[in-house]
Amino acid sequence: MDVLIKIKEIITVQEALEFIQAPECGGEVIFAGTVRNHTKQRSVLKLFYECYEAMAVSEMHKIAQQVQEKWPVQKLAMLHAIGDKYPGDLAVVIAVASAHRGVAFDACEFVIDTLKETVPIWKKEFFADGEII
């Protein structure tokens, strides 16, 4: 399995898509997480993402390792943005290519669910009403 892991200011779906292209794979599933303009009925101005980078990369590699043990996945890209992100901006992209689509769906959902549980990245929410959480 080929793995691309990046944490940086600007990420694109295109970069993930290009990485997972492979003529031996028929099913590609991509999850794109973007900043919403509201959360729990409150208007969001922006998010600020920070990370413990060395450990975040290490935890992302562990997720890739688990994917490799569980499913026949050929390519996996995991990109996470950091810094100020505004509504509509990309925060995370997970892209999986496999010969079979069911595998690609399962693996992609596993990766984003696990990333949200284990990878040391934090967001601060700046609301329109002035509050910061």
Binding site: Y52, A56, H80, L115, V119, W122
Partner: protein, 77 residues
Amino acid sequence: MSVLLFGVAKDIAGVPVIDIPEHITDVAALKAWLYNSYPALQQLKSLMIAVNREYAGDGQLISSDDEIAVIPPVSGG
């Protein structure tokens, strides 16, 4: 011995790195010291300690050679 702070733990302490007393030699003692020094940390849903970039259990020993970090609930994605 220095400890890295991230996310809301950093905001609570007001600084990204703190010094902890030398008598603290395991994760459980570190957590107890943190909760005592920064009571607001008790309100977090969880507080993990990473030692050398790995999540550590309460019994794990720590020393000044280790990279130690306080990991409040993560919220990536």
